[in-house]
Amino acid sequence: MSTFMQFITTGLRLGSVYALIALGYTMVYGIIKLINFAHGDFIMVGGYTLFFTIPAFMKLGLPGWAAVFIAIIVCAVVGMLVELLAYRPVRKRGNNLTSLITAIAMSFILENLAQAIPAIGPDPRVPYMLFNNDIKIGSFSISVATLITIVVSAIIMIGLYQFTQKTKIGRAMRCVSEDKQAAVLMGINVNKVIIITFAIGAGLAAVAALMYIAQYPKVTTTMGATLGIYAFVSAVLGGIGSLPGAMLGGIIIGIVQSGTSTYISSSMADTFVYLILIVVLMVKPAGILGKNIGEKV
């Protein structure tokens, strides 16, 4: 029983982190049809920001987790800069392929920059451990980090969904994603909407970074690459462009990874993740919650 509970909580925790990151992929894709490969590296930016700011906050007598607000701001600024300096100028002149290559380039640039700056890379850093005590419920114990990860992610996801459905900025985002030209002719500043989307997505990556380092206290310059791939797979599995899809995809990937590690072998975890991805895409090419848009004739 306790093994089972362990598997579920670990799965949910991993899945919540993937989901938070997947939201960033899916939002940007939804709005400009770009797979932002640099998105994973925003986690790395968040991770290093936290590495420096958590001790500083604690020295000031503030709670260490509050440093996440600084990380959110730093990540949002980096996200907006990437859009402003790289994606927007390329998008204006090129096509989807040029944008995609730019995204891959941006990812390497961020990683290599981090490695080259002496204060940051190239060696891994060990951040301060947060939430490292356990809560016992009967015979079952759960770490505070796990609990916080699951609860905070759930709140953020519900909040974000409400944001896109009920606010003017959320509505504007959905318009831009459906028909940019018509959105412009409703007086919507499309570029502003796009940059807000980048800021929100990157901000979520900062939260994911906090959740992640609370569990695995190690920050490296390439940490975003692996995490990013899992999150990207989550977004595709759930149906890229769909927010609930990203959440669902993230949780499924987390549970599958944790289940395989618990009951079969941790070295098989990735095999199962990608097997499930392929099977789902064969049955539903647009992902679980994605809309199949058939060619209208």
């Binding site: 606010t167 003017k168 509505r171 030209q181 018509a182 412009v184 002719l185």
Partner: protein, 257 residues
């Protein structure tokens, strides 16, 4: 009788060239407050190009556009809309996956004051504004008898109602000039009659100036105060409906010599 109404929209020698092809040249039009002007011409005459110029989708290669005394040519599309020009499309371009009321709410976006902070933290200002917007949107939908379908997804509306919603959405941008691009296209006679009524109501309620592109001649002759005819990008005639109907050049442009 002297027309004392103020001019809302005015163009001066407006023209655009696409790689050597003059799509529109020396286009001059003046629309007064509350006036309904028709823009007609054979297929490919450049009518929709004029609309695209007026809304900033295309940048004119010559001439200028004025809204009241403000020069709006050269502005970005969303700024032109914010200045007060709204349009509908020849082929309906609603936000099909959104509900009827959301389509209208979207058009309010530029006038909504609350910022990102209020939206995220749901401040009282946010709730108050959203409530007001919903009421405003419902009022507008009522005029088009779409209020009972506010929560229907736009793509599920019948064709005629989609057209009406597009007009309602354009009106929601709080515009001074409304550009209607073939609003009766593909409509059956009942729907067209309904549309006519709609246009009359809009003019009474909103006192807006309207520029109308239309192929349905009976509709054009029926509602327009003045008509301007273009063919191959050139204005070939302008005047009252009865003058246009008897103009030899216009008849030739439509039917050939």
């Amino acid at each position: 009788m002297e027309d004392t109404r103020k001019t809302v929209l005015r163009t001066q020698h407006l023209g655009i060239t696409f790689g050597g092809l003059k799509a529109v040249s020396d286009f001059n039009i003046e629309i007064k407050e509350g006036e309904l002007v028709g823009l007609i011409g054979p297929n490919g005459a450049g009518k929709t190009t004029v609309f695209n110029l007026l809304t900033g989708v295309y940048k004119p290669t010559e001439g200028a556009i004025f809204l009241y005394d403000e020069k709006i040519s050269g502005k970005k599309s969303h700024q032109v809309v914010q200045a007060g020009i709204a349009r509908t499309f020849q082929n309906i371009r609603l936000f099909h996956q959104m509900t009827v009321i959301e389509n209208v709410l979207v058009a309010f976006t530029k006038d909504v004051k609350y910022g990102l902070f209020s939206a995220i933290f749901r401040t009282p200002a946010f709730w108050k504004t959203e409530k007001e917007l919903h009421e405003k949107a419902m009022e507008l939908l009522k005029i088009f008898s779409l209020d009972d379908k506010a929560d229907v997804v736009a793509s599920n509306l019948p064709y005629g109602e989609q057209r009406k919603l597009e007009i309602a959405r354009a009106l929601a941008t709080n515009m001074k000039v409304l550009l209607l691009d073939e609003p009766a296209a593909g409509m059956n006679p009942t729907e067209t009659a309904d549309l006519l009524k709609c246009i009359k109501v809009i003019r009474e309620k909103f006192k807006v100036a309207i520029l109308l592109i239309e192929h349905d001649m009976s509709l054009v002759m029926n509602v327009c105060e003045r008509i301007q005819v273009i063919s191959f990008g050139q204005t070939i005639a302008a005047g009252l409906p009865e003058e246009i109907a008897n103009n030899q050049q216009v008849i030739e442009a439509y039917l050939g010599k």
